[in-house]
C-alpha cells in the first residue's frame, strides 16, 4: 500500500550546532542579514538560548515586530533594558541563574546617556540637551541608528551587568555601517571642521568665515549660524571620549569574545546579501560564527506523504480531487526541500567554519515566548526529531 519509503533525507546538522558554543562562550553576538529574513527573531532566540544556559543575556534590537516586542515585554519608550519576568522564563526552561533582558534602542535615550557619561558638568549637560540642533539630530532616526547601536554596545558590554549582549543590526542596506558610524560622526564633529565655524583671528580666516556666514544665513535664516556654533562648542569637549568609545567597540568586536552570525532565507536577494556580508566580515577581520538559514523548507523529517493516504474504494470524487491537489503541493515542498538542503551544504562549505544550520519552516511567525523557546532549541540543538 505504501507507495514510497519514509523520508530518509540526511540529518541536517550534528546534535549540537555551532550556536551552542557561541551562546555558552561569547560576550557579544552580532546578527547581520538582509531585511525580512527573521533577523530580529533569530537574535531574540539566540538570547533566550543563552539564558537557558544560565547566562545573563541582553538582546539589543532596533525595530522588532509588535508581537515579538510584546512576547519579550519590550516597550518603545524604555530608558533602560527591561528584564523578561522570572515567572515567564521558568516555563520555557531558563534556570534561576539565567536572565533575559531586552532593549529597543531609542536614539535620543542613548545620546543623552552618552552626553551624561562624557560630560561631568551638569550645566554643560543642560546646555547640550537644550540646544535645538541637538534635539533635532538626536530625535531624527535616519542615519543615527547605526551610531546609536555602536554607542549602546559600548556602554552595555563594558558595565559588567551582562554575560552576553546579542545585537540585532539595523535594517540598513549596509548593516556593518554601525562599525563605521562613530568614525563618520566624528568626521562631522572633527575639530578641523568645527574650527572653521569658530571665531578665529587672521585675514584669511575672516574671509572664509564671512563666506560661510553668508552661505548659512542665506540658507538657514538669521540665528542658525549662532545656534550651530554653540552646538559645536558644547560638543567639542566630547570628541575625544567619542573616539575612544569607537576604538573600544572596534577592539571588542574584532576580539575572540565576539562573533558575527549571518541570517539568511533561501530567497536569492537574501542570499546575495549574505554573501556580501560574509565578504565584508572577512575583509574587516571580524570573527565569523556561521550562517543561520531561516524560513527554509529543508526540514522534511517526520512528515508523512499524502501519497500514502488511502481513501479506500468508493471514496467521493471530490475527496480524490482534493487529495490530488494536496499531492501537487507536497511535490512542490519536496522540490523546495531539495533546493534548500543543497543550499545548506553550499553555505557550510562557503562558511569555512562548517557552520550553517537550518531552522524549520515554522508556521507563520514566532508570536510568543514559547514559540521563541522552540526556535531557540532548534538553533542550538537540531535533534532532527
Amino acid at each position: 500500500m505504501s507507495s514510497r519509503p519514509p523520508d530518509t533525507s540526511p540529518k541536517l546538522v550534528e546534535d549540537a550546532s555551532f550556536l551552542a558554543d557561541l551562546v555558552r562562550d561569547k560576550r557579544v553576538i552580532v546578527c547581520c542579514g538582509a531585511g525580512g529574513v527573521g533577523k530580529t527573531t533569530t537574535a531574540a532566540a539566540i538570547g533566550l538560548a543563552a539564558a537557558a544556559q544560565g547566562r545573563r543575556t541582553l538582546v539589543l534590537t532596533i525595530d522588532p515586530a509588535r508581537r515579538l516586542a510584546e512576547a519579550m515585554g519590550l516597550s518603545e519608550s524604555a530608558r533602560v533594558p527591561t528584564p523578561v519576568p522570572r515567572e515567564r522564563l521558568t516555563p520555557v526552561g531558563v534556570p534561576e541563574s539565567g536572565e533575559l533582558h531586552a532593549w529597543m534602542l531609542a536614539p535620543e535615550v542613548v545620546f543623552e546617556s552618552m552626553v551624561r557619561r562624557l560630560t561631568t558638568d551638569e550645566e554643560r549637560v543642560q546646555e547640550i540637551l537644550d540646544n535645538r540642533l541637538y534635539q533635532h539630530l538626536s530625535k531624527v532616526v535616519a542615519g543615527m541608528q547605526e551610531y546609536t547601536a555602536a554607542e549602546a554596545l559600548y556602554g552595555l558590554s563594558t558595565d559588567g551587568r551582562y554575560d552576553l549582549v546579542v545585537l540585532d543590526t539595523p535594517p540598513s542596506r549596509n548593516a556593518l555601517e554601525f562599525l563605521e558610524a562613530p568614525r563618520k560622526l566624528s568626521l562631522f564633529l572633527d575639530e578641523r571642521v568645527v574650527g572653521v565655524f569658530m571665531p578665529r583671528g587672521g585675514a584669511f580666516w575672516r574671509t572664509a568665515s564671512e563666506l560661510i556666514d553668508s552661505v548659512f544665513t542665506r540658507a538657514f535664516g538669521e540665528g542658525f549660524y549662532g545656534e550651530l556654533q554653540s552646538f559645536l562648542r558644547a560638543f567639542s569637549g566630547m570628541f575625544g571620549g567619542m573616539r575612544a568609545h569607537a576604538d573600544a567597540v572596534r577592539q571588542l568586536l574584532t576580539s575572540a569574545d565576539a562573533s558575527f552570525v549571518l541570517v539568511t532565507s533561501p530567497e536569492p536577494v537574501a542570499l546575495a546579501e549574505a554573501e556580501y556580508f560574509h565578504g565584508r566580515i572577512a575583509h574587516m577581520g571580524l570573527p565569523f560564527g556561521g550562517y543561520v538559514l531561516n524560513r527554509s523548507w529543508a526540514y522534511t523529517r517526520g512528515f508523512a506523504s499524502p501519497e500514502d493516504i488511502d481513501l479506500g474504494p468508493g471514496a467521493p470524487i471530490e475527496e480524490v480531487g482534493a487529495l490530488l491537489k494536496l499531492r501537487q503541493l507536497a511535490d512542490a515542498e519536496r522540490w523546495r526541500a531539495r533546493r534548500d538542503r543543497d543550499l545548506l551544504a553550499k553555505l557550510r562549505m562557503e562558511g569555512g567554519t562548517g557552520a550553517a544550520l537550518a531552522t524549520p519552516h515554522l508556521g507563520g511567525a514566532v508570536e510568543d515566548l514559547a514559540g521563541l523557546a522552540e526556535l531557540a532549541r532548534n538553533l542550538v540543538r537540531f535533534d532532527g526529531a
Binding site: 542596506r173 538657514f220 493516504i309
Partner: protein, 322 residues
C-alpha cells in the same frame, strides 16, 4: 495554471487598475525589508514606459561595493548620479544628495559663482555630507529638481519618477525630517525649500505612496501600521501591493473536505503549503477590510532579477487591454 513539479507558479492577478497610479508625477515605494519593494519599483517603471511615458526610476543610496538592488532588478550593472536611459522610455539614477546641495546653493545664493565657491569649500562640503539629515535633505531637493526639469517643448523631462525607498523604519524617519527641520530653522531659504518639498509630497494629484507587503499575519499588521504612519505625515497613499501570494488551487468546499481527510493523521507533506494558503487568505481579507487604498495581488513567481520585474510588468501592462 497550477503549481508545477518544480514549485513554479506564475501569474499575476491585478485587482485594481494602475492607471491613476501611473498618472502621478512621483511614486514613493516603501515597505518592510525583503517584501519586494525593488521588484515592484522596477516593474512599475516598465509598465509605465509601456504606456508611452518617460519614466525615471530612482533609489536613494548606492554603494558601489555592494551593488545596487535596483540596478539588478532593472538588469543594468550600476546606477549613476545622472539619469541614463536603460531601456526605451526608462531612465535610472541615484538621487544624489550632493547634486541636491549644489543645486540648492546655486538657487539661494546671489551668484552662481558664490554657489560654486561654497561647494568648493571643503568645510561646507564636509558639513553637508556628514551632518546627519543633511544628505536626506539633499535627496529631497534633488528629487524636486528632477520633478521640475522641463524639455524645450515645455513638457516634463521625466513624466513619472519612481523612488525605491529604504525599508520602513528608515523611510518613516525620512518622512519626519522636513517637519523636524522646520522647528530648528523656521525661516530662510532652506525652510522655504523644505516647505515647497512638503507641499509637493502631500499633493495627491502629484505624489503617491505605494506600500508593498507579504500575505502573512505580521507583515500585514506592519503594513496597516505603515499606512497609518503615512497618513500621519499627510502623504497620500496611492496603492498597496501584496507580493508573493501563494496560488490557491482549491475550489469551494475542497479545503473542508481535505481537513476532514487529514484529521487525526500525523503531519503530512503539503500541509505547510495549505497553512500558508490559509494564512494568505486571512491576511488579504484583513488588508482589504482595514486599508482604504487600491490593492493589487502579485502571485509567487520563482524568478529573480530583471526577469522577475519584466514578468510582473508584462502582466501589469496586459491589464490595459483586458
Amino acid at each position: 495554471m497550477c503549481v508545477g513539479r518544480n514549485g513554479r507558479a506564475r501569474r499575476v492577478i491585478i485587482l485594481h487598475s494602475l492607471k491613476s497610479l501611473l498618472g502621478l508625477r512621483a511614486v514613493l515605494v516603501t515597505g518592510k525589508g525583503g517584501v519586494g519593494k525593488t521588484t515592484v519599483s522596477a516593474a512599475l517603471a516598465r509598465a509605465a514606459a509601456a504606456t508611452g511615458k518617460r519614466v525615471l526610476c530612482t533609489e536613494m543610496y548606492s554603494d558601489a561595493e555592494q551593488g545596487s538592488p535596483l540596478a539588478a532588478a532593472l538588469g543594468v550593472p550600476e546606477l549613476g548620479d545622472q539619469p541614463v536611459e536603460i531601456a526605451p522610455g526608462i531612465r535610472a539614477a541615484v538621487l544624489s544628495p550632493s547634486l541636491g546641495h549644489h543645486k540648492f546653493l546655486r538657487d539661494v545664493l546671489p551668484m552662481k559663482l558664490l554657489g560654486d565657491a561654497a561647494m568648493r569649500s571643503a568645510a561646507i562640503r564636509r558639513f553637508f555630507s556628514a551632518a546627519p539629515t543633511f544628505p536626506e535633505m539633499g535627496v529631497l531637493y534633488r528629487l524636486l529638481d528632477l520633478v521640475r526639469d522641463k524639455r524645450r517643448d515645455g513638457t516634463f523631462e521625466h513624466e513619472l519618477i519612481i523612488v525605491d525607498l529604504p525599508a520602513t523604519g528608515h523611510a518613516l524617519a525620512l518622512a519626519q525630517i522636513p517637519e523636524s527641520l522646520l522647528k530648528v530653522i523656521p525661516t530662510g531659504a532652506v525652510a522655504d525649500a523644505v516647505r515647497e518639498g512638503l507641499a509637493f509630497l502631500r499633493d495627491p494629484e502629484q505624489t503617491g505612496a505605494v506600500v508593498v507587503t507579504l500575505p502573512e499575519n505580521l507583515p500585514v499588521s506592519e503594513a496597516i501600521e505603515l499606512t497609518h504612519a503615512i497618513h500621519t505625515h499627510q502623504i497620500p497613499l496611492a496603492h498597496v501591493f501584496v507580493n508573493r501570494v501563494p496560488y490557491d488551487p482549491f475550489g469551494p468546499g475542497e479545503r473542508e473536505l481535505l481537513a476532514r481527510v487529514l484529521d487525526g493523521k500525523p503531519p503530512v507533506l503539503g500541509a505547510r503549503s495549505l497553512d500558508r494558503i490559509d494564512r494568505a487568505r486571512d491576511a488579504l481579507a484583513r488588508l482589504t477590510r482595514e486599508v482604504r487604498a487600491p490593492l493589487s495581488v502579485v502571485q509567487d513567481v520563482w524568478l529573480e532579477g530583471p526577469r522577475l520585474a519584466e514578468e510582473v510588468a508584462s502582466l501589469f501592462s496586459m491589464e490595459r487591454f483586458a
